[in-house]
Amino acid sequence: MGAAVTQEESELDWDALYADQAPRVYNYFRFRLAGADVEDLTSRTFEKAWRSRARYRRDLAGFSTWLFKIAHNVALDHLQRLRSHLPIDAAAEVATERTPERDAERDSDLAHLAHLTASLPDRERELIALKYGAELNNRMIARLIGLSESNVGTILHRTVQSLRARWQADEARSHE
């Protein structure tokens, strides 16, 4: 009794949602947890979402908001697992851990960015990942993080300014 998939849910185009959201989730993890197995985290997010998609309610949240709540939790689980296996000091360095395989990547801009964001507070790192990795707008980010839209804009602006300054300083140092 009461077991039913509503008409509205059954009409969602899951293929289209997947095609649209998979690259966003993938890049969210790339920005948020550089050095992690991004494919694995993306898979875990979608598997969780697909398993519970019948519980997704359009009247409560947009699909992206719902999906990125799941992605956020997957990221937190990942970080907690890391922290339970590594000394606290090492956890901050995971994003920039140096291995021969990652040497090439380390030189890339994203690796440089990861190095810079590793020292940011969690909230700012999350905002950067949602804004530039997942390409969510400020309103959606605000809904996810529980901040006001203007607050999100302000924090992002300050964070990018700070990153830019440190980026330029790094570049200047490398030219010396």
């Binding site: 998939v5 008409q7 690259p23 530039y132």
Partner: protein, 462 residues
């Protein structure tokens, strides 16, 4: 560093990863949701019923009302069960099918409209104006081009077999642009058209059909009225089944395709009867095939290419079912004609990039496309061999590839008619003078084409 720079750091995930994950997700059923409200309501009702029964028992009234209480409950339950229709999306209403991801993007193809009903009707019937009229033609006849010197009216009578309308349209358009007029072609079965070609009273002057004339049919044209028939090989039409090259070709037989896509198929338990097709994976169709979900995108059924697909592949597959002969003729027609509308087959996106994207993302997805499209895609797609035969220019030109057929034009050589036919062919063959496939049409090689043109025109001018 600015916003653009940060956005540019994004990358597209590897297609193989996306496809692998999607394939995994596709195996995840959409589990029904248990509504909290209805669960609570059910619990309250159950509790109340239990409380009422206990009250009756405690007050010593249970014995007297026992049957009536159960009678009321029984009747109430039955009424609810009978009156409540299956809820949309419930397992019952899905007939055992999982969620249909194509439902929103591609509504099940509509059954043929009146146009196609006419095409499907045996016998010779006029082609509706909308299916064959040249652009701008609004009257019952193809009208001549504006500003051209009008030639004397050519009163030709033309017959077209179903599916060849696109090819004929191309020829007719060229003819009309030359300042000629042509009555609407009639469409009918190949047998009827060929029989009409040389019949008394000159019902038709030339016909376009998808097979060669038999010796008996040819002999039928050697009458005083007929004067023999001239054969012109116009080219071939071919549709191919493709998959993204990332996942390789899926070799199929016409029987597999029919069993996977036919709306009704002969039941294994009762070969003389049709059953609704509920195969969901290819290995249910044929154990040798992989356990991939049956998902095929193709032309809309009411399009010319949709008609071609039915006639090329579905008809052949249907007729190759071992128990086909056990079906009644009406069932045979239904079995061979109707394609699934439950999501296993859906209309392909019209834009090629959208189709390609879907094919790259979904490893189990197949698409039916014109041969010309395959040629344009480079290495992105790979065609399935059908009945072990690869679609190549050679197998298509010979008609060996099951997804192809050779189209012929037969003209009446009656001296009173042949000048007009000659005039039509001079224009019409020009329209087919191409070296690369166009859509489903595959031209004959240039050398052969030149030879056909020369011999045809010389035969008609003799």
């Amino acid at each position: 560093m600015n916003d653009d720079f940060l956005h540019r750091l994004r990358v597209r995930p590897a297609p193989q990863f996306l496809a692998r994950l999607k394939s995994k997700l596709d195996r995840e059923p959409l589990r029904p949701r248990v509504s909290v409200v209805s669960t609570v309501l059910a619990a309250v009702l159950a509790g109340a019923s239990a409380w009422a029964l206990a009250s009756f028992a405690l007050r010593g009234e249970f014995a007297g009302l026992h049957w009536s209480v159960w009678g009321i409950h029984a009747a109430g339950s039955e009424y609810v069960a009978k009156s409540a229709p299956p809820r949309a999306g419930s397992p019952d209403s899905r007939q055992g099918w999982g969620p249909n991801p194509w439902a929103a993007a591609n509504r099940p193809a509509q059954e043929p409209s009146h146009k196609n009903t006419a095409i499907a009707t045996p016998g010779v019937v006029p082609i509706p104006q909308s299916t064959t009229a040249a652009p701008g033609a609004t009257t019952a006849q193809y009208s001549g081009g504006v500003g051209l010197v009008q030639a004397p009216p050519v009163r030709l009578r033309m017959g077209v077999a179903p599916g060849a309308e696109l090819l004929v349209r191309r020829m007719v358009e060229r003819f009309v642009r030359g300042g000629n007029t042509l009555p609407e072609p009639t469409v009918g079965t190949t047998e009827r058209l060929l029989a009409s070609l040389c019949a008394a009273g000159r019902p038709l002057d030339f016909v376009v059909v998808p097979r060669r004339m038999t010796a008996a049919e040819s002999a039928g044209c050697n009458t005083p009225w007929g004067g023999g028939a001239v054969e012109v090989k116009l080219g071939s039409e071919a549709l191919v089944i493709v998959r993204s090259r990332l996942y390789g070709a899926l070799p199929l037989s016409t029987l597999d395709i029919y069993r996977a896509l036919g709306k009704t198929i002969p039941g294994p338990g009762n070969p003389g009867a049709l059953m609704l097709n509920r195969y969901t994976t290819w290995n249910e169709v044929d154990r040798a095939l992989p356990p991939d979900r049956i998902q095929v995108l193709g032309p809309a059924f009411d399009s010319a290419q949709g008609q071609l697909f039915r006639r090329f592949v579905m008809q052949r597959g249907c007729e190759s079912v071992p128990s086909f002969d056990a079906l009644q003729s009406a069932d045979q027609e239904v079995a061979c004609r109707d394609v699934r509308t439950d999501g296993a087959y859906a209309s392909a996106p019209e834009q090629y990039p959208a189709l390609l994207q879907k094919l790259q993302m979904l490893p189990t997805l197949l698409a039916i496309v014109p041969y010309g499209t395959l040629q344009l895609t480079g290495d992105a797609l790979i065609a399935s061999p059908i009945d072990g035969i690869e679609p190549t220019p050679a197998t298509i030109a010979s008609g060996a590839y099951p997804g192809s057929r050779i189209v012929y034009l037969y003209a009446n050589r009656n001296p009173r008619v042949s000048p007009a036919v000659l005039r039509f062919l001079k224009y019409g063959l020009d329209a087919l003078d191409m070296d690369a496939p166009s859509g489903a049409f595959v031209p004959v090689p240039r050398a052969e084409r030149d030879q056909i043109r020369t011999s045809t025109l010389s035969t008609l001018t003799q």
